[in-house]
Symmetry: D2
Subunit: 407 residues, 4 copies
């Protein structure tokens, strides 16, 4: 993250940067994540001075009509219906993978072997084996300057980036206690259909991989520490659901036939961190009334940090070195130009939203490619998360037995 030195653009002083090279993007997938990524590719050069100009060269989807519609909306220059064809195109430099997890490994490895940079949505894969193969391919490709990144986008929410910066500066000291929750209530209704996200063969896991993966990554990112071992429980509260008649993104309509839910509805685990702290994790799609609450609180020997995505422009920081009379959690509105990524956007107090994290992701990725740096989170970071997801499932399947996570 190099945001503090990034030159503000539209709203700031200098607008003279000459951009002379382009980075041509081919994106696979066009649903929820496809829209978010499209917006990011389009916004990044509008709000930030980039060393390479993204060109939205091609979007790829099996449904040509739907892909064309998204292409028209966001300005993709062409449409492909077969990702193999996309990879063969010489006018595409980077493949952006926005498809479900069961396709990540095949596309990503092929893209890397074809010399394309890769941005891959999370979780990296549906199994440790796939993630290992992808990481191997990424490391080999990196030797010839081909870059790869996994899309744990929430790292780039300014408040999260600020939290990481403060921990790295030692502002909270040694990490003692961490509690991380990702709470949704998306499928509390037992009549909600059996979306693809509820089928193991497509999604890999349920709440665990879909949203738990994010808080696992975030805790490791912010603390700079690893989860070294864990004990877990999972639950599937609704075992059967109506098969869907149609779905799109996170909505859909139910049919009359029933099918089995083959993933977890909720997953919880307790764990140790490499620095000696204790961390609790909870990912659930049954937290009625909580829509997308990513809550992370970290208590250290010198201070504490707290974040909730339902107030995503805020970071709460307690500095134990403040004088006792006026010490208190500081409600930092992370919209100052000194805050990560913010200089590209609006004046103080003018909030940004969910989609802006995707733009920041693209900004950092483009800068890394231009500067021959390996982006983070890397496929190796994604593999590390995958191993933890795997350990959670193994522990949960074996009476919460303790699972060590190799370093």
């Amino acid at each position: 993250m190099r945001t503090p030195t990034r030159t503000p653009s539209v709203l700031g002083m200098t607008m003279t940067t000459t951009v002379d090279r382009s980075l041509r993007i081919g994106m696979v997938g066009y649903a929820f994540m496809g829209a978010a990524h499209s917006q990011a590719w389009r916004n990044a050069p509008s709000f930030f001075d980039l060393p390479l100009t993204p060109k939205m060269a091609a979007i790829c989807g099996r449904n040509a009509e739907a892909a064309s519609a998204v292409a028209g909306r966001f300005g993709w220059e062409s449409v492909e219906t077969d990702w193999h064809a996309l990879l063969r195109r010489s006018d595409v430099d980077l493949i952006d993978i926005c498809t479900p997890g069961d396709t990540h490994a095949e596309i990503a490895i092929a893209a890397l072997e074809a010399g394309k940079h890769v941005l891959c949505e999370k979780p990296l894969a549906n199994s440790v084996a796939e993630a290992e193969a992808m990481t191997g391919a990424a490391e080999k490709a990196a030797e010839s300057g081909v870059r790869s990144m996994v899309g744990f986008t929430y790292r780039r929410v300014p408040a999260i980036s600020l939290a990481q910066r403060l921990v790295a500066q030692g502002r909270i000291g040694t990490v003692r206690n961490v509690r991380a929750q990702y709470l949704q209530d998306w499928i509390v209704d037992p009549e909600a259909p059996l979306f693809w996200r509820l089928r193991r063969e497509v999604a890999g896991s349920g709440a665990l991989g879909d949203i738990g993966a994010h808080i696992i990554d975030l805790v490791q990112f912010i603390t700079g520490e690893n989860i070294t071992g864990l004990s877990a429980l999972t639950a599937t509260f609704i075992k059967e659901r109506p098969l869907p008649e149609s779905t799109s993104g996170l909505t859909g309509t139910s049919g009359t036939e029933m099918g089995e839910v083959t993933v977890d509805d909720a997953a919880v685990f307790i764990s140790k961190l490499s620095g000696g702290g204790l961390a609790t994790f909870e990912a659930t799609r049954f937290a009625t009334g909580r829509k997308n609450a990513i809550r992370i609180e970290i208590n250290g020997s010198e201070g504490s940090l707290a974040f909730d995505f339902e107030d995503m422009n805020l970071l709460h920081f307690y500095d134990n070195n403040d004088e006792p009379e006026t010490a208190g959690f500081r409600r930092i509105l992370v919209t100052e130009s000194v805050h990560p990524y913010v200089a590209g956007w609006w004046p103080p107090g003018h909030l940004i939203g969910y989609e802006h994290g995707f733009t920041h992701q693209v900004v950092d990725l483009v800068e890394d490619i231009a500067n021959n740096r390996n982006p983070r989170p890397s496929f190796a970071d994604g593999l590390r998360v995958q191993r933890i997801l795997d350990a959670v499932e193994t522990s949960a399947d074996n009476q919460s037995t303790w699972m060590e996570i190799p370093a």
Copy 2:
């Protein structure tokens, strides 16, 4: 506001709408508001099904280089340096005015007379006389189907739109007490330079017109009532400031020579509403620690509403008809598809930001133009606000004497 019936687009079900007509936009100005409007014109057709497709035909600014830079960033197809030339172009259907207030009247009237639809930033003008002339021009133009709107964008924050809807539905009953505050701390530092926003001849007034105008419009919009009279105070806490060496948007650097601040730093007033309620207003740029806090609380005989832009995705609603045991302000996360404008965006709990209000403004304007409706807020709405701004200054200049506002 017709949002409830708007078809969701990218993330929703249907994506088959055929768009066959365009609306060609020429924008004057390219700074803070220029960026926000550019983003809106570009985003509206990506996320909403519009009956007319906006084409970003031309951007106009005296500084050709700066205008060109913004054009390149956001995709404006051409650049003009003289707004008269822009108005003469036959390939422009709508003029979007994003310049300081002293230029609004001249440009808007000329544009309307040239048969161009007009979107004009707020406040409508720097004087009542100008606003009256503009309103006259707008009403005349409307007879031949030329539309106009003033940019009180915050009306289109979903939580604000929802508040208006709930009041209109009678959910809070008769309005009794209103408190409205717009709090910034932008120029608390006495060394901050004498920006154009601090000079009466350009800005018209200070905190009053810049931010006070918004809460005046919002209270009248949400309650559906008019301010019928008021008594006011204003203050200029820092009388002299360094002349700027350079400024851009809301930031800048100070020189060594000093100049007089000719506008208010803060304005407060008490007022009566047409329904019999009492309302207090406060606009200040000296609320240290408050960055862009637009706070509106409305207490009615059947319930209450509270909003703070620093948590812009939230609306707080107290329903006095709830059973006493469980009654309490409801923290409504206004990100459900049933909420105004939200269906165009992301799933529940995935927040939107400041800029999205501008997109919604464009969406409504385009729909009104396509459907031959006069948009709101109209220039007449802007004139009404202007009369209140004028009354505030007159009252403050005359020992807070009571000023009746004509209906």
Copy 3:
């Protein structure tokens, strides 16, 4: 306020203080305020080391049975039914007046003339003339060591005391903007009976004197400044109400006959402070859903403070000298032993409630009496509030005309 040096008692280290003198209390009134004061007299010596020991000598009420019941509950040693008799008792040192405002002047002046110290509930009186007479009597009595205090209890909420301390230390610099609200919804229901608090001849005024008086005192107390002028509006939303069949405190039952409401339901005013800042005030009994929300926010050149009685153990403090990256309103949980009055109570994080302010009031009063100091808020402070209440009514009755407040 000398709390920082007060020795913690029960929960702290030292419990060796020898108390050898008593202060004998006679209280007039036994309803809501009577209960709160009784609890205070009983609690003060249990939790704080006092230089004089309060003895609850006598409670006085016209209804002997009711007064006896309260005496039994709280441990008053005797009961009187005529306050003249109470004043004649040689075994009473201090008269605590908890009756409605129309009786304050007569009782207080007589008590002072009888050489009794006086604690008088707020507002000091129902008119400026009465308050002047009381202040004269108090100042004369003070010459012979007889002390008096008016019961603006909220000054002794620890978070409020801390706010005052921080302002006095210069932590927020020059005061620029103040907003103060006292919001209740006690009589939103038009069928609520015509309590004594809604009758001018008993209560003096409505929301203005009952709750507005508190925020007037608090703003002057915290800022250390005076209100120098104001412009006001009042409203009576419900003009007629059922006469009560029975009432007690703030509850009661309605009869069928109607009576006129002769006081305000809500009062608002804008004002100037002696230091040049602007302040807005609002007192209302029609803020549906707000039960006892005393909200005070003060913005100064170096920082800001915010308080809401609905979270009475919290003070929010913004320090403009914090580094920009981590600046933010600090949520101070005012339960540390370094905070005012807290050392007498429980460990950090163990909240106190409404009634504790009354105990602190008694503690300070007893210490002042023992140390021959004139307590604050004095009757002169109460008179100052009374003059502002009077100016508010005069302004509101005269088209919000500006009223200067003599220094």
Copy 4:
């Protein structure tokens, strides 16, 4: 809990109840808990109509001077220095045990055998064996009408009682996810002395038994379900501390010699509930900046509840049956007369504090004794908590192995 039918007293209508019988209390211990219990015994009859009048007959402590001081402060009629003597007194009906956990079993069993009712502070004991013996003694005593209760006081915070009531009414449906935390930062400073609470032989365990016990009890109480199994981790972050020179309650001064910390600083566990839900628990004394944050959130199929003791007068309730447009967590200010215990206190919006829970505990206990009912939480409830504490330690000592909790 029979609070809804309790007659309001001082502030309400009826004050005619005739109280003719007394309940004579003997309390063992006089420190932090001693003060809280003293205040409760004194307050209960002042604010609530009780069928038996508590008489504060005797306080017992080994340090006669200190016990006498507390007796004087709160009105205990006599002092004992040997609890055996206290138990022999015929003028004592109930023994209130406020000593450290290592003494609970011996005193409680002896008291029950002596025919005294017993109120025993939590945790019930320092071991399951002790708790079993106590429960046996309690059940035997109950046969002859001798009552016993364990002091899980937080059950009687009105917001917690309301939460339990709403769950019992089915308002949140089937419980799916629970997260419970008790966060303090009492000993973050490694120089804080080795208090008795940090020594296993006195305290039994650390954060686990001191504060974890509370959230275990509260989750079982509110949900009406049992924890059926768990997997746990504990940590002692600071292994050695200075031996204390003096301590009192939760404060003290450090000497120069060091001693070993023999209890946990933090404990976390994941668990299953008898209704099929998942629950996570965390108790820590190292949550820097959190002073006494008891946080409980319960998500059910029909709604959710959330509580934080740092805002102890609030309960947040989400009703999934609210219409989607206005659904949101309701911020219930639990100060209405319809809320549990509140009718005894102040008007709406006038908050209560930490100590009031102890008063409610006494109120319920006295009513149960008068009505020949076995109070809750019973010693059997305390034993159930003790078994869970024991299972947590066993699991933590055995690589987080899964522990079944017998029903």
